[in-house]
Amino acid sequence: MAWYQTEIFWVIVKVAVILFVILTGGAYYTLAERRWAAFFQMRLGPNRAGFWGLLQPLADGIKFILKMETFPRNADLFLFMLAPVISTVTSLMLWGAIPFTPIIELPEAAQKITGSKSFILQVSNPNAGVLYMFAVSSLAVYGILIAGWSSNNKYSLLASVRATAQMISYELSLGLSIIPIILMTGSLDLYTIIETQKNSWFLFTLPGFLAFWIFLVSIFAESNRMPFDLAEAESELIVGYHTEYGGFKFAFFMISEYMNLITLSLLAAILFLGGWTLPDFISSAISNVWLQHAAGIGLFLLKAFFFVFLFVWVRWSVPRFRYDQLMDIGWKVMLPASLVIVFIAGIYVYLK
């Protein structure tokens, strides 16, 4: 077996490809956010660097790298450097279980070269794929907590403690909102969850529909987005837990936030909107297998793009909550509601 036919080589290739795509996506998400924000406010937004401002993320990246490094005087230097690394690595690990494509049967010629019969753009499909994603996203708390503590700034520390309490509160309802889906699928791996939704999305079942709203609110709070962005409340806390960060260390926080948003959008499209599956009446209308795959993947990206746009849309439409309101929503509305939905889902699955 040649070296390019081994599993390890293909894992490296897949990781490199997805890493490149998601990083570019995260970089362009920053541009899209600024452009869309401008449209919402009847401005033009960044449009100087390249056509439509398309080179803006590149210019930003170069500028971030060229910036001088500064460290706060009484910071803990090692942890100060570690925090952005934790944030970025966890957001880069997060998409490890997401199947970007269905299993594609390769033609003869490609089979001979790659040595395998089929191809799927997914790093690995573990049995506990959903739990893997939750486990990795629960690690993201440390990037924020350590950033605030190590920079020894009162505002940063307050912001990071706030953000951590917020994230763990909404992690509960996020985890519980998945349970109706697992009940209906009987499996934790993401490929099976997608395959089960071939003819009806979970959004169109009763427990799935109820859980979807819990999930949606929880991912907004989990990623510190606008109605819940108490960690970055400029009027109270300067810019939040990354006040002391500059240069590329700041860029790490930014890009990990946007990469998290993209991954959560993909996850929402997978869990509730059927991923890349095509209903039977569409897939029977398309005769060519490759066209079917292209249509499915295109539809998947479109669904994810809807959530990506929703994050920006909500950000510029809804004002920020007060912190006590935020915690009240998390503990007194979302948590009991998601527990009740779990119970409803149990009865629904039992009666069906």
Binding site: D76, F134, L145, I146
Partner: protein, 190 residues
């Protein structure tokens, strides 16, 4: 040495190293971070053993919840840098702790060696009591798996049903205890 063995020993190295870091580091936040590393390493060890559900829960519960509480408490009790400097790190104590740790681990090694003379062969060869079939989509074959969520649930809801229900009572007591303790604190401290 095959690849699982290499992985096992490298994870062991990480685990032992981070455990020493927890004990010997003078900064409590860094000690807690070493403990986080320890738990992640433990999760990797579980994954290596095929207990994937335990591995994910190890990260989800210990790292995602319990260590966050630890870090909050460390921040809550205000450990100042001066207090850290006054904490002596004299060589004598380090040596004593190291010797104690080594002695205990040697003792454990001897004890466990006696029990594990069969090198776990009966575990490997014996039929797994709980196992489940999982479909591999590319090959279409069904794999027999022990250690995922389904297997755990069979054990939980059939053999250990009463302990499972008791867990809810334990959690209830934990809720009450946590509230009572912090209530007391709030009235006096604030």
């Amino acid at each position: 040495m095959n690849i699982p063995e290499i992985l096992f020993y490298s994870f062991t190295f990480i685990l032992v190293g981070s455990a020493f870091g927890v004990v010997f580091h003078r900064n409590p936040v860094k000690s807690a971070m070493f403990l986080v590393l320890f738990f992640v390493g433990l999760a990797a060890m579980y994954a290596l053993l095929g207990a994937e559900f335990m591995a994910t829960l190890q990260v989800l519960v210990y790292v995602g919840a319990i260590m966050v509480l630890f870090l909050f408490v460390i921040m809550l009790i205000t450990v100042r840098d001066e207090a850290l400097l006054n904490m002596s790190s004299n060589a004598g104590r380090t040596v004593i702790i190291t010797v104690l740790v080594l002695a205990f681990s040697l003792q454990f090694w001897v004890l466990l060696g006696g029990f594990m003379k069969a090198k776990g062969e009966h575990v490997v060869n014996g039929a797994a009591p709980y196992s489940t079939e999982v479909m591999n989509y590319t090959t279409g074959e069904k794999l027999l798996i022990t250690g995922n969520a389904e297997v755990i649930s069979y054990a939980l809801f059939e053999k250990y049903l009463l302990p499972f229900e008791l867990i809810s009572l334990v959690l209830l007591v934990a809720v009450l205890g946590g509230i009572l303790l912090t209530k007391h604190k709030r009235e006096t401290l604030q």
